[in-house]
């Protein structure tokens, strides 16, 4: 944050941040930077910005910096931060809102995390249910981790923990329609 002239930040940043934080049901001024969120965060050691810092960036109007941070993508949504915050700031929800916003703008600092979510939703759209084999196939092919999890495969197939054929919802169209409706709705807001 060294060398940023905060007085030159555009006003539109402020509005964008306000709407983002509001979507998460939060109020930025509630955070007094105690750092409890970051102390308890199980993923903090891998983050480029601590959860506390992400909030501080937003408070200062540094939207772009927050949107391009890896932290919201590394967040496992375990909700420890939100649960322990002494001032009830829903930090995990804010992290999620930042990630969604970045994703919509095509900012994906952790490509593999993005791919995992993307292909997680693919079998849902096709079958209405999750299907690990479809997910793994597409993820492995696109992530550059072609043989990840291969060693578990024989045991998983033998114990039927991995199904070759996906389970399907009868009314798959209804589920697909819901997913499309949500996509449209999310873009409209």
């Amino acid at each position: 944050m060294v060398g940023k002239n905060l007085s030159l930040l555009p006003d539109e940043n402020k509005q964008k941040i306000e709407s983002l934080v509001k979507k998460a049901g939060a109020k930025l001024s509630d955070c007094y930077q105690c750092g409890k969120c970051s102390a308890g965060c199980p993923m903090a050691e891998s983050m480029d910005l601590m959860p506390r810092q992400v909030l501080r960036y937003l408070q200062l109007g540094l939207l772009q910096e927050a949107l391009s941070s890896q932290a919201p993508w590394i967040c496992a949504t375990c909700q420890t931060c939100s649960a322990r915050c002494p001032h009830d700031v829903p930090i995990a929800e804010i992290m999620e809102a930042i990630r969604r916003q970045a994703d919509q703008m095509g900012i994906r600092p952790l490509r593999r995390t993005y791919l995992f979510s993307k292909y997680f939703l693919l079998p849902l759209k096709l079958f209405g249910r999750n299907h690990e084999l479809t997910l793994t196939m597409f993820y492995n092919l696109t992530s550059g981790k072609l043989f990840q999890h291969f060693t578990y495969l024989p045991a998983m197939l033998k114990s039927r923990k991995l199904k070759i054929w996906p389970a399907k919802v009868k009314n798959r169209l209804a589920v697909r329609k819901i997913m499309e409706n949500c996509e449209k709705e999310a873009q409209n807001i």
């Binding site: 375990c78 999620e96 995992f116 997680f120 849902l124 033998k158 114990s159 923990k161 009314n171 589920v175």
Partner: protein, 293 residues
């Protein structure tokens, strides 16, 4: 007692042992889980990272189906992630967003369904008594670290859980089998969930710390009630041992497996035979030493 039942995708795949053992226990104590017809995936954990709408709408369709098909019954949700998503959906159905979501799923929804976990269900006094009565073996050599994970407790605004840092309901159920439960610090710490796929190096420390704390507090096994936690704790224990040059030997059981074993189920009947980390030996020792109370 009857419940409507939302199994969730993993019960038919990675959580197959959970399904088997739940079934065994429920039959033994006369609980009836009626599966919601044509249920769909709740979207966890990708749905809610895409959009707020998707995170609510996918589970909400199941709530609406349950209201239509099995009105008045509480919904049993055995997976922590599904449980959390259902509770989020329920809260949305009680908010000013209800109409919007009813439009998005193209179904009417009241939010009249109560969402309950397996711990909630088994902790009901009458059911607990029935479990006690059905138990025929004392598993007194087991020292269990009960691992609750994240989403049964957090966020408390959604789960309405009271004791979020040190929950006790699973411990109480496990102790019905004669096993000891240990006090430990990682009961509700995160296992890393789906991140073990996309950022495995960053996620391994989470599992390592869980095993380490469980062992340090004298546990010889872990018990969980979440298929995602189970997959991580059980399947990846070997990889964590390798990465940290460790020798953790902590079999992981579902809550329902432990109860089923204490009720006399064979390993095959309750699923213990198909774990990644060898899970039979510890129980065999058990069964040889202590038969019937």
């Amino acid at each position: 007692m009857k419940y409507s039942y939302f199994p969730g995708c993993s019960m038919e795949a990675t959580g197959i042992e959970y399904a088997k053992s739940l079934n065994y226990v429920n039959r033994a104590i006369g609980l009836d889980f009626i599966e919601i017809e044509d249920w769909n995936c709740c979207g966890a954990t990708a749905g809610h990272t895409k959009s707020h709408e998707l995170g609510i709408a996918l589970p909400l369709r199941n709530l609406a189906l349950a209201e239509q098909q099995l009105p008045g019954l509480a919904m049993a949700v055995p997976c922590a992630s599904c449980y959390s998503r259902m509770k989020y959906a329920l809260q949305a159905a009680h908010s000013e967003e209800r109409e919007k979501f009813s439009r998005l799923i193209d179904m009417p929804v009241e939010g009249s369904v109560e969402i309950v976990s397996i711990m909630d269900i088994y902790s009901v006094e009458k059911t607990k008594t029935a479990i006690s009565a059905a138990i025929t073996k004392r598993l007194s050599n087991l020292k269990i670290a009960c691992y609750y994970g994240c989403l049964y407790s957090r966020p408390p605004k959604i789960t309405m859980a009271h004791n979020i840092e040190n929950p006790q309901n699973m411990d109480e159920l496990v102790r019905l089998t004669g096993a000891t439960t240990v006090d430990w610090a990682y009961k509700t710490e995160c296992c890393g969930a789906g991140h073990h796929v996309d950022i495995p190096q960053e996620s391994k420390p989470l599992l390592y710390r869980i095993y380490k704390n469980a062992r340090a507090n004298g546990a010889n096994a872990l018990v969980t009630a979440c298929p995602m936690c189970m997959l991580n704790l059980d399947m990846r224990q070997g990889a964590v041992n390798k990465a940290y040059d460790e020798n953790f030997d902590l079999p992981v059981y579902y809550l329902s497996e432990i109860l089923a074993i204490a009720m006399g189920a064979t390993f095959k009947e309750c699923g213990v035979a198909s774990h990644f980390h060898p899970a039979k030996k510890l129980l065999q020792k058990e069964n040889e030493t202590k038969e019937v109370v």
